[in-house]
Amino acid sequence: MIPELGQFSLILALLLALVQSILPLAGAARNIPAWMSVARPAARAQFLFVAIAFGCLAYSFLTNDFSVLNVTQHSFSRLPPIYRFAATWGSHEGSLLLWTLILGLWTMAVTLFSRHLPDDMVARVIGVMGLVSFGLLLFMITTSNPFVRMLPAAMDGSDLNPMLQDPGMVAHPPILYMGYVGFSVAFAFAMAALISGKLDASWARWSRPWTTAAWAFLTLGIMMGSWWAYYELGWGGWWFWDPTENASLMPWLVGTALIHSLAVTEKRGSFKAWTVFLAIGAFSLSLLGTFLVRSGVLSSVHSFATDPARGLFILAFLAVVIGGSLLLFAFRASQVGLGGRFALVSRESFLMANNILLLTATGSVLLGTLYPLFLDALDLGKISVGPPYFNAVFVPLVTPLLFLIGVGPLARWKQAKVPELASRLKWGFAASLIVALLLPLTLGAWKPLVSLGYLLALWIVVTVAIGVQGRLRTTTAWSANFYGMNLAHLGVAVTVIGITMVSSYETERNVRMNEGDTVTLKNYTFIFKGAKDHDGPNYQASRGTLEVSRNGRHVTTLYPEKRTYLASGMPFTESAIDYGFTRDLYVALGEPLGGGAWSVRLFHKPFVVWIWIGAVLMAMGGVLAITDRRYRITSRKKERGAA
């Protein structure tokens, strides 16, 4: 009964999405207020029914309804309740429903926070989002229905993939999707601007908070994915340049370019066409990522099991949405107008340099991810493109970008005063350089890449300080935008330090340990106390105990496990981590070697959490920037109409 209700709700949502898109868009084109006013109620109703459908699916999972095929394939009766809930989005169908739900959520937010926008703009934005919702719902209903029944019902499920039975699974996909899908708002604003021909600085001001919000969520989503991979997969790596990871990084890179480009457009009215293009680009990459992960076109640990028919549908959807928007862009972009002029050395040009570097980085990631496919499609052989390529190309592109973080915010708009910039920055640069060169020596070996990393991180910190000090000399007034920007930039510096430290100074031991054996790793002594059976709700496990001490004092006890999941029989290593601000201690059990001995892998990873703390700071900076007063001017804008 409940699954059928869910199915029915999806169909209703489909019809409402159609209404949500056609009437407002036509109404805006023909200036019929009655049709335009359908936008908000239709969008809210559509969201309601998608939410009901989602609720029905979640209910089926929580109540172990194994007559629903999706539940049988991805759940298990002895799975802890929280993971039964998370399994709702553990499949292609379920995650698609989550996508649609979150799209509905963002649309809902637009209906609530758009009082200050002109009616035709609201109608167009909600209408475009309605078209995207329509496409997704159609895709779901025709090819990826989560509510398909299986009769007779199964006795029990095949279990959720053990790697997904983790708190990361509960948080990472929803937050990531909030980011991915959130770029649809910027996309819709861009479409509205192109359709109406009204593209000016106020458009940029309206788009900015939405874009920054989506960007902040995506930053957090990627950060969670990285952290989850760290403690769950392999030996504590935190980025593998896997196609799925790249699929989320690319919209983030373009999204970052977009929030910077919006700054120029808002402030100076320049680069409007470019900003619109980026808005299309960011969402297009989100859709492309969705395609890549579900179509079977690329091989990834992370991809959903699918069939080519679905891949074809998504590709067609992609072609229509992106192709359509790029076509519209081609026709309307030239009418957009130019905006203010600026010199070769100015904040505008630094921001454009930022954009070029970010876009080139995006291009390199896209090229590397798709190159094997290109060659294979042209029957030119089969190659693999992995971390060695991406690291070799990405790092040199990001380096000048990080350097620009120091220079851009301090440069004047329109015409930077180079001598003034140089004088403010030269001591900061010198100080950063000296510390960067000397610091590695205190840690052991001197490595040039380590110094480079430090130089860039210190440079950012120093220039943020200079910028803040410069502002405080003229005013102590609070500016959310200014301080948010600096917080986000500091976050970048923190991440760079984390990456530099862990890449260069990580140490590892891979040893055989009998009960009572010890091993030392960087002043820490680990004593193996043997492994015992320690079964869980849906798995059997051997749990090892390691006492960790330093200078004779007990630090912690770690319990790495080797599990075998009951439903699937899959073996699994659950590593044990002692998190720390300056280092992580990471231990994983290898194989039992007979006689109670085990092979054990131990790692000392210095400053690795800084990678994710930095990302959190970036997101916080973004959120802070959104709270700026300039985005809250409501009724005045409405009275004056579109600027």
Partner: protein, 154 residues
């Protein structure tokens, strides 16, 4: 001395000493080298994992093969050759630089230079296209009143 006393004196120190764990690998230095190489090689039966981290049977076999080749004195290049002869370039995570992959390796930098050049040319061209308009005193006062302190921030 009685045999049992000899035994005791031999066993006691062993019991008192905490045993330092020995490395799993027979030759840790070689192992490091093997892992370093394997990290850049692809596990052929996995969904995008390296040869170093994979727990698949074939991966174990190939790691053992690499160990033995390195013990026999083969260089990294020779080991890589051995694998590519049998499995093709697919096994390499670092694609070889050959005409087929020039676009891959040099594309991004070519793109960067092209884009930077275009931006430079565009700024120059645009500057000459736009005439600078200056504000009158009245207009300047109005601007100040409207903007308040938002003089020169982002």
């Amino acid at each position: 001395m009685r045999p049992w006393m000899i035994m005791l004196t031999l066993w006691l120190p062993l019991a008192a000493m905490a045993n330092e764990a020995s490395p799993v690998a027979a030759d840790p230095v070689l192992e490091q080298r093997m892992i370093g190489l394997s990290e850049n090689l692809r596990c052929l039966v996995c969904q995008n994992e390296s040869l170093a981290g994979s727990r698949a049977d074939l991966a174990k076999d190939l790691r053992q093969e690499i160990r033995e080749q390195m013990s026999a004195g083969k260089s990294d290049a020779q080991v890589v050759d051995y694998l590519t002869q049998r499995y093709g370039d697919f096994v390499l995570y670092k694609p070889p630089v050959k005409p087929l992959t020039w676009l891959l390796w040099f594309g991004p930098f070519a793109l960067l230079i092209g884009a930077a050049g275009s931006l430079y040319a565009y700024i120059k061209r645009r500057g000459s296209r736009l005439a600078d308009q200056s504000l009158s005193k009245e207009e300047k006062k109005r601007v100040e009143a409207l903007l308040g302190n938002n003089g020169n921030e982002s």
